[in-house]
Structures are given as C-alpha cells and as structure tokens.
Subunit: 500 residues, 2 copies
Amino acid sequence: MTAWDALGGYLRETQIVGSIQSTLYWDQNTCMPRAGAAWRGEQLTLLARQLHSRQSANEYADLIAAARQEWSEHASAPDHAERGRNLDLLEQDLGRQQALDPALVAALATAKSEGYNRWQQARQASDFQLFAPALQTMVDLRKEQARQFNEPRSCWETLAQPFEPDLSLARLNEVFAPLRQQLPELVARSTTAPRPRMANWDLPDSEQKLLCHELLSSWGRSDTISAVARSPHPFSITLGPSDYRITTRVVSGQPLSCFLATAHEWGHSLYEQGLPDQSHQWFAWPLGQATSMAVHESQSLFWENRVARSRAFSQAWWSRFREVGAPLGCAEDLWTAMNPLAPGLNRVEADELSYGLHILIRTDLEIALLEQGLAVEDLPSEWNRRYRESLGVTPDNDAEGCLQDVHWSEGLFGYFPSYLLGHLISAQLSEAMTAEIGSPEEHVAAGDVTPLLAWLREHVHPLGRAMNAEQLVQRISGRPLDSAPFLTYLEGKLAALSAL
Amino acid sequence: MTAWDALGGYLRETQIVGSIQSTLYWDQNTCMPRAGAAWRGEQLTLLARQLHSRQSANEYADLIAAARQEWSEHASAPDHAERGRNLDLLEQDLGRQQALDPALVAALATAKSEGYNRWQQARQASDFQLFAPALQTMVDLRKEQARQFNEPRSCWETLAQPFEPDLSLARLNEVFAPLRQQLPELVARSTTAPRPRMANWDLPDSEQKLLCHELLSSWGRSDTISAVARSPHPFSITLGPSDYRITTRVVSGQPLSCFLATAHEWGHSLYEQGLPDQSHQWFAWPLGQATSMAVHESQSLFWENRVARSRAFSQAWWSRFREVGAPLGCAEDLWTAMNPLAPGLNRVEADELSYGLHILIRTDLEIALLEQGLAVEDLPSEWNRRYRESLGVTPDNDAEGCLQDVHWSEGLFGYFPSYLLGHLISAQLSEAMTAEIGSPEEHVAAGDVTPLLAWLREHVHPLGRAMNAEQLVQRISGRPLDSAPFLTYLEGKLAALSAL
C-alpha cells in the first residue's frame, strides 16, 4: 500500500466516526425526547474525545509525514497540485488538533450538549437567566481554546477560522462597511415606500408539507439519497457519501416559512451533493469538503432568494398555493408575501433587506463577548438596544430576542458573519452566472432550473476546499469579493416591489 | 476508587458505545434514505469492532478480576449476592467475547447491515433469490460463531443463549409439545365455529395516529422520556437511561394493526422503563438489563392481548373508534375486529390462536438451516409446504412468505421461540396477577390500568437479570413454566368469541 492510501484509510475511519457524531446530532434535533439530552451529551463527548484523539495522534502525524514524503518524490503526478493542497490542509488541521488539551476537547463537547439543552429550556421559558451560566461556560472554554490554538490572530478571528478559512477582522470590516452604511437607509425606505400589503393568512401543516414536497420534487430530489424531517431550527447535514438530510419547521402565522426554509436547506444539500467524490478528492479528504460556511450559505441563499423568491417563481406557483388554500388573487400577491420587506425581530424569518442588520448585531455582540469584555449578563439589554437602534424594533422577551438562535449555545462563535458573506457571494456569483447563461429569473420563467444547477455543478461545487471563499469568488467572477452586487440586487428588488 | 467503581466506569463507557450503536440502528429504520445503507454498515461495523474490543480487552478482564477479589473480601455487604450475580454474568459475557475472533465480529456486523439491505430489496421485489446469498453468508458466519463460542450446547442452542439464557432444545421441545399437539385443533375449530365476521374496513393514517396517541396517553406515556416513529417493522429500543423509543407502521386494509403494534411495543418499553436503575443495578450493569426476550415479549403481549384485545377494552373504546370513522355498531364489533381468529400468512398480524404455529414453523426451519442441512435455496419451498400443512394457507409469493420477517437478515437465529415463550409467560404471569389483584379485564372495565402496571413494576420489572426466564416464572407464579395457562386462555377466548 502506498503512504497515500494508508493515509486515506485513516481519514476514512475518522470520517466514519465524524459521521456517527453527525447522526447523533441529527437524532438529537429531530427525534430525541428531552430527557435523553444528558446521555446524548455523554455519547457526543465520548465521540469528540475519540475524534480528537484520532486527529491529533502521532500515528496520524506519521501517516501525513509519510504521504508528504511520497508526494515530494512524485512531482510529475498529474494531480500533484491537488494532492499537495490536500496535504497542506491536513497539516494545518493536525497542527490545530495537536495544540488542544484533550480535557478541553471533552469539556467543550459536554458544554455543547449542556448549552443546547439549557438554551432549549431557556427559550421555552423565555428566560435568559436559565441560559446565562451555560453561555458563560462556553465563552470561557472557547477563549481557552483560542489561547491553546496560539495563532497570530485575535480570539474571535481564531474561532472563526473553521467556518471562514483565512478571514481577518480587518477584511471583514472592509467588506461589511458599505452594508453598515447603506442597509439602514434601504430598510428605512422599504418601510415608508407605498407597497401593497397582505392581510395575515396561514396554511395547514399538511398543506405546507405537501408544497415543500412538490418543490423538492420539481428540483429533482430523490428520496433514495435524502430525507426530510422537522426540527426546532432548520438545518442541512450530510451523514454519509449518499445520505443527505435536511430539516424544516412550520411556524404558526408564517405560511411561507417552511417552504422557504426547505428551499434554503435543500440549497445547502445540493452543494454537499455536488462536492467531488472521486479518488483523492473523496468524502474523507479535504478537497471533498465544503470550503467555507459563507460559500455554503451562498448556495442555500441562491435557491431560496434567487429562485424561490423570484417574481417568475411566484408566477409559476401562485395558483398551486391558491389550490391548497392560500388567499391569493394573482402572482403578485404571492411575490409580495414572499418578500415582505418589513424589519422584524427574527433573523431566520427576516427579509433580504434587513437580514444583514441582524448579522451585524450578532457579529458585533460576539466580538464584544470574546474580545471586548461584554458581560454575559448584559447580553439581553445590549441585544435589545441594538435592535431598537438598528432595526427600530424591540423584543418583548428574550425568546424573541437574544435566545432566538441556537448557535452560541453550541459555542459557534465566528459563524454568523458567514450568513451575510453568503448573501454577498450569492449575489456576485449570480451576476457571473447571468453573464454566462442568463439570469436565474429567466430560467425559472422558462420552467426549467436544471441549467442553474448545472452551472453551479460546473463552477462552484467541484472546487471543494481547493480554495477559500474569497479565492473562489475571484476565480468565478473575475474580481474580489465586494458588497456592490448584493446592494445593487437589493435596490432592484425594492424598486420592483415598490412599483407593484 | 474501589475496584467496583472502576469496573462500573468501564461498563458505563461500554454502554455509551452500545447506545450509540442503537441510535444508528434506530435512525437506519426510521429516517435513513436507502442509499445510506452502505456507509451505515461501515459505521456499525466500526462500532461493533470497538464494542467487541472493549468487551474482550485484557484491561476489562483485569477490572472484573479485581472487582471479584474485592467482592470476596466483603462477604457481609448487604448487596453481596446481587453484586455476585452481576459478576457472574459479566464473567460469562467476557468469556464469550474473548472466544471470538475480532475479524468474525467485524464480518458479522457487515453481514448484518448487508443482509438487512438485501432483505429490504428482496422483500420489495418479492424475490428470495436476491436475498439468498446474504442469508447463506449469515448462516455460515453464525455457525462459525457458535463454533468459536465452543459451549457444551448445539449450534442453535448456543446462538439462542443471548436471547434466552440457559435454554436447551430438550426443554424447549418439552414446553412446546402440548402446543404442537393442540394448536392445530384449536385453529381448525376457530375456522369452523359460527362467529360474526366484519366486512373489510380501514381508517385513514391520520386517525390511526391519533388513536395511538390517545392510547399511549391513557397509559401514561410522557414525551419527555419517549418518542414514537414509523418503521417498516415495529420495534422498541432504549437509547439511554431516559430515552425510550418505539416505532409502529400503518398497514393498508388492517385498521387495528398500528394500534395493536403500538400497544405491543409500548409494553416492551414499559419493561425497559421499569428496570432497576439504582447504584450497582444501574443501566450499565447486568442486573439493570432485561433478562430474556421471552420475558420482554411477555410484557409487550400483556398490554397488547390481555389489555387492548380484552372485551372490556373494546367496551371502553369502540365509540371513540366510531367517532373517527370505524363502521362499528357496538362494542362487540370492535372486539371481533380485535380478535379475528383466522389463520393467515403473516406472523405479526396473526391472531393469538395461530400465532404459535408461525413460531413453530420458524423455529423448526432455523434449526434445520443451522443443524440439519436444510439448504438456503430450499427455504421458500419448505416454508410454503409447512404453512400449507400447518395453517392451511399458501403464500402467493416470497414477500408474503419467508421474506416477511427481518430477523434472519440480521442473523437473529434462536430469537423466534422467545415470541411464543412470551405468550406462555404472559399467560402464566397473568394468572398470578389475577389471583393477587383481580384480572386485567376487571381493571380495564373499571377504567384504571395503573394497578396492572404497578403489579408488573413490583413483581416483574425490578428483577432485571437477577434470574433467567424460567426462574422468574417459578418465583412469581410458584410453579414451573408450562403451556397450560396459555392454552386455557385461548380456549376461553375462543368460547367467548364463539358465543357472540
């Protein structure tokens, strides 16, 4: 066996353990009764210990070193560069894993389960105090983790690396600056512009389920390789090379929430399904994996916003919605409902205009928590103050406010900006796509989205971790990541909706 | 730390790994898309290897030996006997695990996943040939496993031990002899006795789901510690000390199938929920576990047959069934539908009279496969011949015939007799219960089943693995296991139904 194959076998077994962990996570969020949480936490802690042990083992380091040696002796191999990139990433990951104390790894896994459990209870009771101790523990552990990584980056930057490789705070501020400046003005304009408003309506759970099923069928979903379930917070997860799962939820009084969440999560899944799966780029190797959460989000947002929220889509679907009970008189009624453009308290239900403000608040708050001494106990009041100032709305309680998102309960600091970067990337990639094959809207109007998927399958999905998010954008669009395409898109949408 | 506590910690971690395996099994049967099977097989194989490695490790043997030494030095401890029994069982299990070649353990885990997958395909296509090679592999591997165990028992007896500790073929034949003799005559009488028959009817999936929910609510189910899902084959499984799951299925044209399966699986779960959970008898120790599949089955059958199929139950529930659309004119209509007493092809849907014949056929066939040279390829014809002779029915195809049960696909040889032994134990324990607190029927008529559960919680559930099935029956009923109570019960039920 070559050193390369030996390393591949090792990675494959690591991937098996990782995918077991993912399966437990899936079950935790879709099936597990509440009282199962403590034991589930022990299971996840055991797997986290096993995974860290595998990923930091001397045996593993030796396998990488041998594969690197072999690689350097075969410089003329046709896939030499790709193999080198795989090794670069493995060496980087190994260095990080070896930097961590196993006790911290176990403590983090336990705190993650405990935090998730506490967050659920606190959100149900709408009482931040029930969650605060778990959040404090998580902040302390993650700070310690960043310290142990010992990288030439700030604490927040260090923790953001797994989600957004190579991201710096300086670059993030640069990219976000035009959004900080222009989004509030756009949101303000959207609330004053005269536009038709829909009266409140809803659809029964069963009809929403049916529409979601029809949507995914029309996008080619096969239940041979995928499954859909319900969870408190929609997500997409891959449990094996041919096992793709998504979840949705039905929100009372928001008849399109489940439908749009389905579109969104399926977009994530399509990216995963399109990752390269041959030879050295297979499932278990870095090049077979998603490069960043922002790129991931760009793919989910493409299907949610560029496709399902497009005017052409409403033209194709509005009568079907009416058949199952939606009080719609024309396509524009559905399009208006799909694009309410009204700032609210909830990130996941937010419209495209105000979404960025939700992210800016979270990004600023988590940097404040980790680097600027914001006390955990002050989080609710800081949260509410920023919502008031930035979006003009005030949560009635913590469940509507700082308890709405699961992320911090699981220690996911540094994750939120990826959502907004995803909007930017989605807009910039869509411009490139439009220049090449015509706009998403045109294809939706023509009744065939397969060219859209084919383009993504050709240009975006196969890259895996061959490059980071900014390099991917540069390669596909020919210019650096920029907020202009996203802002242009928002301006256009607001104008079109206002012209109804 | 005492040697006892050190051993307890080790067992607990083993239990965590085991419960991860169970969680993957749950997901495989409730959520997993078909294409996920191969990777799931690799996950389960890895866990089986880990489990076997833990359960046969020298480190583990040393922990048991140290605990045994400590135990022998503390003969006056109040729970000395229970601790000794725990150690006896651990030593027996250790001996078995150490007897196995790790390569065989891995091969069996792979064959189990592969067999299950092939069985599903074969059953769908109703083509035994698709399944035959996987079954042959399983037969060969299980024979080899029995050989490696090297116990003073026949191959089939050896494989039956995990399900029915201490069972011998001689004793099984003795207990089953009256059934072989009398069941065919009872079945024949049931088909000729003039009885009211129901026309075919059905209930929508949603209404069946609602009734099942109401049933379990009336039996005190809490969704804090339990969850219900759907699977091709109903089962009950425990995923943690406070995480109990059951599955059901809706069978078209059989409006009571889901309801009775729910009662049955919940009976299994109640047994698990009643197992002792304090100190040394906790979850991870033998005394905290179920003693045999027959005792398990006696508990599920109690709730299915003694409670849900009782006349008093139909009196209490028939109008509720009518409300959701069942074409019932009186309580006796529901009772008749609950007890069709008509021999058929399907074991799971079988009535109480003919059920035993299904088991006798399977038991004879698996003994023939393992010990008497029956060729795998001859299984369908042998199956069909025995059904014709014993039950007077002939399967139209393999799906209705020898492909109907999942068990052999997963290598579960020696399991089927436990189902019939469960009927016998259920009948004998019910007689003991009736003598003490009155009959199940009386309590159902009085509208309160809590005394029934309380009696089981006092006499049956807390025993764990303190004794085997026969000892449990002797202890509770004051006499050896016998088929007479079951046959008496059947005679009575047939007479009552015939008198309608």
